[in-house]
Amino acid sequence: MPGSSASAVTAALLRGVERREEARRWLLVLPAGLFVGVLLFFPLLRIVSLSVWDPIFTLRHYGHAFQDPVFYRVLGVTFKVSLLTTVGCLVLGYPVAHLMAHARPAVANFLMTLVLVSFWTSLLVRTYAWMVLLGRRGVINNLLLAVGLISEPLPLMYNLFGVLVGMVHVLLPFMILPLYSVMKGIDRSLMLAAQNLGAGPFRSFLWVFLPLSFPGVTGGCLLVFMISAGYFITPALLGGRTDMMMGQLIELEVSQLLNWGYASALATILFVVVALLFLAYRRVATLRLPSGAS
């Protein structure tokens, strides 16, 4: 029939147009894709290959890691610091996100600005500020000495305490922002319904709001844990000798011991851990840019 052959021609033409359109899109994405591919993935693959070729295929760098008590200690510290940082961020971030989600728009905007200002300030500057605050002759010790609460400076940094204070401070926005975006989407009438049915404010929070905010909790916790696990600057400046984390061990092996094979194996292990956490994160949240602009 002539009609169907005409529509077949149209369909073929449309397919041609579609294919051209697709090619055009590929062309637009390709420069960025190639750029990131060459400059990021090539060096990363080089690291993976350095970890197993030395000079022929070997797993001894991984063997070294899994037999070395130092590696286990560093892994333990990394896990402990990341976990405590995550818990700290959740405990401090949850009430703030809750307040932001329920405040008047003007107040919520102001609180958001505070969070973003902190988020925007250079990580190095904020860590330095904590060095100034927590040092032996730092602001906090001087203040406590002047008031007479203590007679000797407290050891506030170069230990686990200092690392946690700094890490929680730096990563708090990464908890507050996902929590807030989930809490903002919770239907407030559900809380009112619970209260109409006789639940007090506390019970309606516990049985209605809290479970509904869980996607934000999981997302924020995974994000903070993931970033903590690979952190370097804050633990390096505020931590002590015994609180070394994975990032610091990698840095030590590369810049002081020039042990590329071992450092590459450590980097590969860290990468796998973070990649697994990221896959878990993707299941619970879509990656959004934590900024006012998105």
Binding site: V36, T121, V132, R137, G138, V254, S294
Partner: protein, 259 residues
């Protein structure tokens, strides 16, 4: 109960924000040590900063790196976002993952990977070495902001312009670009800020030549006890604030335009 809740929130917000401001008064101190509250007022640490080539030179170098990164990453990222928009073509998701990867991978891993490679290529301590890797880190931010702007764009505008006789280039420059400009600008500001503040990768690949401001601070942070670092920090904070204010203005303007 309510009182407790509000005071907890207030304390957390103070914890979040006060440390940012603690270094500013220190940078105006007259004392050669870090003392709080600062004794006296002086601009000597700024004089020191702008008098020493190692300090102000590193700031100028950082600005150059940040500017070039901004240009390169904004062009690449905007093109990629346009290509990925209204995704659904083969491989789009894989490409998206590739483009997001630099945001996820710990910087310490990227730093040592690039360090080893750059050492072979003699790119350590060079302007372009830094610009190239910072652009990699920055592209995802541009992709995300421009994609956001494109999602707000009426999908009928482009076909309408073409039906009215505009060609592809005209359609892009006259119809698409003016509509997504805030997204592109936001991406550009983010990339500038990222390149100006980055420290982990700079520790490795910003050498004795081509030292960025954060790298210069890192070198002195444990050894120099005078407040020049506080002055450098204040400068970094000021730059961040200006960029943040620009971004917020942009966002407010965008929100008004949509209404």
């Amino acid at each position: 109960m309510r009182y407790l809740y509000h005071s907890v929130c207030g304390l957390v917000l103070m914890y979040l924000i006060l440390p940012v401001f603690v270094v500013i008064p220190l940078s105006f101190s007259a004392s050669p040590y870090l003392e709080f509250p600062p004794r006296g007022f002086s601009l000597q640490w700024y004089q020191q900063f702008f008098g020493l080539r190692t300090w102000y030179g590193s700031m100028i170098f950082s600005a150059e790196v940040a500017f070039l990164t901004m240009v390169l990453a904004t062009i690449l990222g905007t093109a990629a976002a346009l290509g990925l928009a209204r995704a659904g073509f083969r491989g789009a998701e894989a490409l998206q993952t590739v483009l997001i990867a630099p945001m996820i991978i710990p910087h310490i891993i990227i730093a040592i990977a690039i360090y080893g490679w750059y050492a072979q290529l003699h790119l350590i301590g060079t302007l372009w070495g830094l610009v190239l890797i910072y652009s990699v880190l920055a592209v995802p931010f541009v992709v995300i902001t421009v994609t956001g702007a494109l999602q707000g764009l009426d999908p009928n505008l482009e076909p309408a312009a073409m039906a009215l006789g505009a060609n592809r280039v005209q359609t892009f420059f006259r119809v698409v670009l003016p509509n997504i400009r805030p997204g592109i600008l936001a991406g550009a500001i983010l990339t500038f800020a990222l390149a100006f503040d980055e420290i982990v990768i700079a520790i490795f690949i910003s050498g004795t030549t081509g030292t960025t401001l954060p790298k210069r601070m890192w070198e002195g942070i444990r050894t120099e006890i005078n407040p020049t670092i506080a002055a450098a920090s204040t400068i970094l904070i000021t730059v961040s604030f200006v960029l943040f204010a620009l971004l917020e203005t942009l966002r407010r303007g965008l929100a008004r335009g949509k209404r």
